[in-house]
Assembly symmetry: D3
Homo-oligomer: 243 residues x 6
């Protein structure tokens, strides 16, 4: 199975990081191709930036989709997820949606721990949009300085777990860790949290494989396999062909 | 990977049917063991019957759990699903929950087609309980006589698709087929529906494999691995040990 | 009027305690028969335990229902309440549902004070399931050690009222006290709280009497007076006869 | 026990009709005093008319409250109910609220059958305001001509039951009959409906008695027993004294 | 354009204050006539007081409506707003509704800062009633003593901004300032808050002008231009003529 | 006052049509500049197309924003509205949001009449996203063939009003007409509908003027006046400067 992991951020290093995490959880035989948006922002933090990133992600999806069985939209907040679902001929999975679904599949309520509180408005909208308002206990943000995303887990691990504990105390049955700097942290937090800890990238890989296998076995049909031939203007050819 | 498919109905023939459907979509290397509730009802139709079926299902789960990586609770309506999730040391997946999550992963709103309108109250409660109230366009029921569940698909196929079309006309982006007699019908309905058609059993297998793989790779930790040692009374020993 | 108070916990001392509280508020001429579940847990604390308790409660209900005008399901969290409502030929009332309805009947928003935070997930689900999400300000738990439930009120009374005051400060117009150790505490808290204080047991008695009187006067008809004759397997005879 | 039934409509004949229905379901020893608003409208049909009726109802409540244990606000739509609850020193019960609570206490979803579709906006707001949006399947209105409210039940009984059946087919587990001309019709509809049929007046009496008994036994304290001494202008003295 | 600003409080000084603020934001050519309720309360703080104020406000509206293009109901909490909308032949705008709509038009979630926490229940109901439950982050109240409303802004300005900052930290994208003593404070708070600050009076003027212009240009038709001729009793003539 | 009306469709004729309607309702002294997206689709019908249109609209906004006091995003469905609100230094108003707010300002529930049912999914998402789920009675679509948008009103006027009447019968207190071919139809429908009829373009102009005037008078501060200087890649310069 071939998964196309699209990073809507323009930073290739983040793509590499997420592909590495994705490979940890992928089934044997699954290949993961990482592609990076060419236009947009190094690190998306707001809904407005995500709005720019969505078609930029679609552009590189359109160029690379051939031969892939599913697409992972690899930025928590899932820019353009709903829109892509009804456009592409293969399943599309977002990090936020997959994480929240997995959280719901392991408990009743969840909390979200992430990097910076300036991302809350964008994340909150994702929670509401996917219909998880009543299941989401709330957010906690690290709001601490760091130079490279790699150092976050080591330097602030304890503090991050403390934020997660706060949310458990408020009634969270599981914790979602959001944002590339926290990718993989869930793998070491399980014991101390005593509730399931969920990583968006991992959850998205598992969901993408599940949906792709459903398609392969004929269990999921009716995805939009042919374009409508809708006339467009100014779109790159591979992208225009999808409509 | 070994999945334990538990039929909360007491009819072994239904178990066989569901295991057969489950195997169609299972990944290579996945084994599926079907077990059937010993106490309860041949075919659950109401919430009260489901209430009896839930611990009866847990009883056979407790006896057979050893060596399995995930549990599929194989009756749409998912008797005891929420409760089992926080009790068992492995992921538990329900047909209704998996189908509705898969529907949400392929579109915005879904409709549910099933067998008999006397099941609506039970199903409606499942929709609301899993938080899909705003995503569910509504129900359509076949309400037609049949002798054996095998004959339903052939005899009423066209009528069932017409019910699905009604829901698409009301705004459904995908259709969930619910109930053992409709198991597998989605595999042939995709083209005519032009929206994704989702089968609870298939969706549950895909979800169970996804969650189990997350556990295996360390991506999902924090499930309740050890019992609390809670004192109980009158429970069969294997079941008592889970608490 | 004869009310059947069923304690889904297996501890007869709790049954006695709840019957005693129930009798305080019962109308003249109302008799209250307490019965205790034979199987399950001494003190239910989680949804999974409640799932076991529900049919165990139904078992003793089925044996003792004859001659009773209504059933009180006497554990906050109301195991199996929705399910029993459409099964039994008499009204069934739960402590949580009755308390939250009474709270809604005296103000707009309410808060819930109870014993231990490990019960929150179960209680939260009850709040959501009964549709009181928007009316419930939140929870406060005592989380303090005690040996016998009788000592809680005396030893921690002040602290319990302080928790209630917190919820009033957050916008609660009334306070629900949940859990057998707090039964009756509302009777002494009214003045200091300055908002209505509601006890689940008392509220349930009042509701049960009200519904039973409606049945007696012909004002509430259409309860499921005859069983469907549904075939079952492995159920105790009195219970099987209800389906 | 003494109940004050206040008719917010200015038609004394409706008051008499409602008191008569109320007495059918009242417990032995309960007296029901009917009072009629002096200002407002003969038969309230809209929210704007209800807005006028609310203080007019309070005016006659203030004059007659002495010696009564609870107040029944006897117009479906419950003009001023929320407001009165936090003002009066005794429980206040509304027809719509009591009927919807009773419906919820006997099943999961309910439908409402009433007289004229021009009342829908007002009733819909009551449903939403009391938080029953998710529980209410919908409305059906008779919309047929009649001269005296007494003739409605006899002349249109079959048609009214057919409307109720429609709602059952849409998933209603119980039916609420709303509006004075339908008062009492539930008493004869139970059998044919096969789901509980609920009458607002009857439900309100039962609720009022239940709450009043809770107050009498000390089980419900914290109602606003003393006025705040808030200065007012232009209010009739008995009414002014309540603030 | 002529706007009728109705103060449902009986304090003329508040009317003057609100008219002054209203004139700051009014378009050139807009005149604002302030009228004050004759009956009711000097300063409404609860839902029960608002219930009295609503028809008192309608009474002075009815007397003064002639020649006005829209009505501003000038008390946050908007007593009778929904009811008046379908009664009056011109648009009616409330301070709370206009402020929350403006907040929603500038961001996703908002918080509300006001004077005294005893107003919370009334305000909360307004938030829920207008459907802004999911958009409202929460409340903060000053709860500080003052003699004249004029002094509040100067004496407590910093503290008020700190309360607003709290709500921004909890995820508010904009802040609504509610209550006459805070009227106008938003004009100086913008910079320090870094999120939009919204004043109910200003928002209401802007909305009233917008709706009135829609009517003038034929863009908004179908308002209830003629009364139904509904018979009433005991209503002042100008008011009776509206029904 | 200068309003920038941006048509996210690439068809200039639609822009002209909408500017013409906008001018009908604009206040004296308001100028309206129409600009048309250069990239995207002649007529947006789905969420995926809207996703492409959103940054294309921002591109022409960025080029033309100078000297304008507010932006009207002139396609029902409001592509990118939430995102633009927190980015641009002036108020941004969408047709769907403005229409639904105006509908809510004139009644309790509304219905939406539009052109083609293939737009329902996109529109439904807009309704849910803006929080109007509980206020929206439902949709009706014309689904009839036409050559030029100008002919729709004349050719199908009666049928369109009939669809609106259906929604009124289902409980709508006002009707929103959506889609450029229906622009202006509300001006002639008022009388026959007997409920307010609302046009998105008109409502958006009124809202844009109201918000812009609030900014001019200092009543609305805190809009994002300065860009964050966020580094971007591949964005046209005027657009990049906004971040």
């Amino acid at each position: 199975m071939n998964l196309l992991l699209v990073n809507p951020n323009t930073t290739a290093a983040i793509t590499d990081r997420l592909v590495e995490e994705a490979q940890r959880v992928a089934a044997p035989g699954t290949t993961i191709t990482g592609v990076t948006a060419r236009a947009g922002f190094p690190y998306i933090e707001t809904a407005a930036e995500a709005m720019i990133a969505a078609p930029a992600a679609l552009e590189v999806i359109a160029e690379n989709l051939d031969g892939h069985d599913a697409v992972i939209l690899a930025a928590f907040g899932d820019p353009g997820l709903f829109e892509l679902k009804r456009l592409l001929p293969v399943p599309v999975v977002g990090l936020a949606e997959a994480a929240m679904m997995t959280a719901s599949a392991t408990g009743y309520r969840f909390g979200i721990v992430s990097i910076a509180s300036r991302m809350q408005a964008w994340y909150q909208k994702a929670v509401d949009q996917f219909g998880f308002h009543q299941r989401c206990v709330g957010f906690r943000f690290l709001d601490a300085p760091f130079e490279r995303i790699e150092e976050v887990r080591d330097r602030y691990g304890e503090r991050i777990f403390a934020l997660a504990d706060d949310l458990v105390a408020e009634g969270a049955d599981s914790i979602v860790f959001a944002g590339a700097p926290l990718a993989g942290i869930a793998a070491t937090s399980g014991v101390s949290l005593r509730v399931p800890a969920i990583d968006g990238t991992w959850a998205a890989v598992a969901q993408a494989e599940a949906l792709a296998r459903m398609v392969q076995s004929g269990a999921l049909q009716g995805l939009p396999t042919t374009a409508h031939g809708k006339h467009s203007r100014g779109l790159p050819t591979p992208m225009a062909r999808l409509f």
